[in-house]
C-alpha cells in the first residue's frame, strides 16, 4: 500500500542518515525519491559524503567506502523491519582493519534483536562471533564441519610474515 511504502521509506531514510554517520564517524548521507510527486513509481537516489570530504558522485567513493555505505543501507532496512535472522557472506572483504571493527560492532549491536550468521576470512570479524563453525574439505570435493575455537581459527589464518626476496 502507498502509506506503508511512505512510512517504511521515511524510517529507512532516517535510519540511513544516522547509521552512515555512526559508521563513518561523521559525514552525511541520504536516500530520496527522484520524483516525490510520483511516490508509487519513483526511482530512489542515494548520496554519500564521508567526513571531511566534499559531496561527489558515489561512483567516486573507494571500494571500502562503498561497502560501508551499503552496510549502512542494509542495516537501515533491518532496523526499520527486523528479520529474525540475517546472513552476511564476506561483506567485510574490501574493508580495512578499522572498518572491519566498525562492521563487527554494528552487527554486535543488532544481534540483540536478531541472530546473525557471518561468513568471513578475517580474524577480526571472527572475534565478534559467539560461536565459530568451521567448514573444511578433508576429502576433496566433500564439505564437512569441523569444530573451531577462536584461538585455533586465529592461528589457522595467522599472518606469518613471509620473508620477502
Amino acid at each position: 500500500s502507498r502509506d506503508r511504502f511512505a512510512e517504511t521509506f521515511k524510517a529507512v531514510r532516517e535510519n540511513f542518515q544516522a547509521l552512515f554517520r555512526k559508521l563513518f564517524g561523521g559525514g552525511k548521507a541520504d536516500i530520496f525519491l527522484i520524483d516525490p510527486e510520483n511516490e508509487l513509481e519513483s526511482g530512489i537516489e542515494i548520496v554519500a559524503r564521508p567526513p571531511g570530504k566534499e559531496l561527489r558522485s558515489i561512483s567516486l567513493l573507494s571500494g571500502g567506502e562503498r561497502a560501508m555505505t551499503a552496510i549502512a543501507l542494509v542495516f537501515s532496512f533491518f532496523q526499520a523491519r527486523p528479520s529474525p535472522f540475517c546472513v552476511l557472506d564476506e561483506v567485510d572483504a574490501p574493508l580495512d582493519e578499522a572498518n572491519t571493527g566498525r562492521y563487527g560492532e554494528i552487527v554486535k549491536e543488532f544481534s540483540k534483536i536478531s541472530q546473525f550468521i557471518m561468513i568471513t576470512h578475517a580474524k577480526r570479524t571472527m572475534a565478534f562471533g559467539d560461536v565459530l563453525y568451521g567448514v573444511t574439505m578433508q576429502e576433496p570435493g566433500v564439505s564437512t564441519p569441523v569444530s573451531v575455537r577462536f584461538e585455533e581459527a586465529a592461528e589457522m589464518i595467522d599472518d606469518q610474515p613471509v620473508a620477502a626476496g
Binding site: 546472513v87 541472530q115 550468521i117
Partner: protein, 172 residues
C-alpha cells in the same frame, strides 16, 4: 521465531548429512576458499523458496544436487531442512491449509535427480507456496535484505534508480 538448526544432505558440496546448530546471537562460518561456506547460504535461500538456479550460481536447479567428486558418485537427491523455534508464534504454518500450532517448525525441501521435488512443513508434505506464504512478512525469504550473498554488497550501490526502487519494494 529463532533459527535453531540447518541440516544439509546431498546439497552441493555437502555430500553427507551435515547438521549446524545455531543458537548464538552471532555465528561465524569460517574455512578455506571453496570449502562450502557460501553453499550453506545457497541452501538457506533454496529451502526458503528460491526458484532461480542462476541466483544459486547454477545453470539449472539440478545443479544443487551433489554431483560427485573424484572419489564419490553423485547423490540421487538434495535435501535441506531448517528448524525454527516458534514459541513466539510469529510463524503460522498451514501445510495444505491445515493450521499447525507447534512450538517448533521444520521446513524441508527435496529435489531428486529425476527432477521431482518435495516440500514438507513439520514432516507434512505441502506445496512450495505454503512455505513461501509462511515466511511472508517475516523479512526472510529469497530476495530479502536479510541475506547478503558474496559480492552483492557493491551491487546495492551500482544499481540504477529504478533497480534500487525495486529492491526497496521487495524489502518493504
Amino acid at each position: 521465531m529463532k533459527l535453531t538448526r540447518a541440516i544439509l544432505s546431498g546439497f552441493k558440496s555437502f555430500a553427507d548429512r551435515t547438521e549446524f546448530d545455531f543458537d548464538a546471537g552471532i555465528s561465524c562460518i569460517v574455512g578455506p576458499n571453496g570449502c562450502g561456506k557460501s553453499n550453506i547460504v545457497d541452501a538457506i535461500k533454496w529451502v526458503l523458496g528460491e526458484q532461480s538456479a542462476k541466483s544459486l550460481r547454477g545453470g539449472e536447479m539440478r545443479d544443487v544436487i551433489f554431483n560427485g567428486s573424484t572419489r564419490r558418485k553423485p547423490a540421487g537427491m538434495a535435501q535441506v531442512t531448517l528448524v525454527f523455534d516458534n514459541t513466539d508464534g510469529v510463524l503460522q504454518p498451514a501445510p495444505n491449509g491445515e493450521a499447525d500450532t507447534s512450538d517448533t517448525v521444520a521446513v524441508t525441501r527435496r529435489l531428486y535427480r529425476s527432477g521431482q521435488s518435495e516440500y514438507l512443513i513439520n514432516k507434512t508434505p505441502c506445496r512450495l507456496r505454503d512455505i513461501k506464504e509462511m515466511f511472508l512478512d517475516t523479512g526472510i525469504g529469497a530476495g530479502a535484505y536479510s541475506l547478503i550473498e558474496q559480492g552483492r554488497v557493491s551491487q546495492l550501490l551500482n544499481a540504477s534508480q529504478d533497480e534500487r526502487r525495486a529492491f526497496f519494494d521487495e524489502a518493504a
